[in-house]
Symmetry: C2
């Protein structure tokens, strides 16, 4: 493999924002449409979320192939290409499928970029509310609609007893040991809430949620969110304290001490 | 009590929309603000959601007192006044407290109007997303931002096995019998999701959710939503099939047959 020159970080981020704009236009065509409408849009298919997922990923993958033909892609719908490339784009066109299906705005499009095994940029785009959360090289940002970008930071200094904890669904924990670990943690916090997916990681980065604990995540569920959480001041790792990049059992925290305290309870 | 002349339905609805505009401006000042900010806004209080609730209800109650001095008010924060009036306004400034606290947009302001025991109009306003759902005399409507109002209808002809079911939280069912009844129903449907409150009732009215099952609702949680669900073609009642106006154990369905099927399972 020829040595790939380093990408310009600013132009890579601008490219990623363009992917978010384009994929958002696609996913919105399918959001809150009934099956008969979706059916017309996707030529006889019956599943609006799958149709939206595929169409949005195709748009993003085509842009990457044209602009960065030597980059790899890790997608949700079309799998992995160019896995030995230095740079790999990681897409989850609709993270939060259940929310999407039932018309709730708590889903998002995830766009990440790996340099080797390092997530170097991330975007979470929610086109219905017009919210975008992203990580540049050294900070995390938020923009609502055409508003100005603001830096976001996690909430610090929160004790476990004051923390707000979220996870996807109570049935997520199919392994009894994991379910017990989550229940131990849920008992210690101020409030637990279910549902949210990538939207919750973004709210954690913005200082509104303190802890997220999940299992069975795929790389495309998490890669884009890692730099957003970390550059907002948060911590994200596996339950074993390892890098989150491969997914699996994931914990994200707004505060380092809180992360340690929660890990201790999960791994008791 | 002197006989109260009938209100003009159109002007009552216009008045209610004005309440939604005004209360929305208030609640947004507190949404996604950290405690220190909320603290300044509410003169030393420490609970942004309570502060927002109180301020928004005060704005609405003051308008009613000035415009319709003979009307009663059933509020969440300040209790009931004028309970023997023919017309009573029913307010829940922030329905979906947990969502509000953690920055999720799935809360709303509920504005209902009772003529005797009959809910004659209802509004669910979500000021962050700019969504408004409401019931006029004979139809249910939706508007996004400055967009045009659209009629909304529930999804019909859905079988239990294809239905999307929601409830507030798995811990909602503190009575074992209720928890078992909900679990029986959850087993039969396609998908169950937690969280949503008034936002879910609105999505049910708009045809995206099929069933909502809850317990321990207060009148202010439900009165405004009854005409929205009913005029969109849905059914809403207690688990015993009685009018939902007093709250308690509530079930809402997009389809009459589905409602009957779900009631049967709940009451087995």
């Amino acid at each position: 493999m020829p040595k790939t020159p380093a990408l310009n970080a600013r132009s890579a981020l601008a490219f990623a924002h363009d992917l978010a704009d384009r994929s958002g236009a696609v996913t919105l065509r399918y959001f809150r449409k009934d099956i008969s409408v979706a059916n017309k849009l996707c030529d006889g298919g019956f599943d609006p979320v799958t149709a939206a997922d595929e169409a949005a990923e195709r748009v993003m993958a085509n842009r990457v192939a044209r602009t960065f033909p030597h980059h790899g892609i890790i997608g949700e719908e079309y799998g992995t290409t160019g896995n030995d490339a230095r740079y790999r784009w990681v897409f989850d066109p609709i993270d939060g499928t259940r929310a999407f299906i039932m018309g709730q705005p708590m889903w998002g499009t995830l766009i990440g970029l790996l340099d080797g095994d390092e997530p170097i940029l991330g975007i979470m785009n929610q086109p219905f509310t017009g919210e975008r959360f992203w990580a540049s090289q050294d900070a995390a940002h938020y923009r609502l609609g055409e508003g100005r970008a603001k830096r976001i930071k996690t909430r610090r200094g929160v004790k476990l007893s004051s923390a707000i904890l979220t996870t996807t669904h109570p049935d997520l924990f199919t392994v009894a040991r994991d379910a017990k670990a989550f229940a131990r943690l849920a008992e210690k916090v101020r409030m637990t809430r279910y549902g949210g997916d990538c939207y919750n990681y973004s709210l954690l980065a913005a200082g509104h949620i303190d802890l997220i604990v999940e299992v069975d995540l795929k790389p495309h569920d998490i890669v884009a969110l890692i730099p957003i959480v970390e550059r907002a001041g948060g911590v994200i790792s596996t339950w074993a304290g390892q890098p989150a990049i491969n997914g699996g059992r994931i914990i994200a925290s707004g505060d380092k001490k809180l992360h340690q305290a929660a890990l201790k309870i999960l791994n008791r």
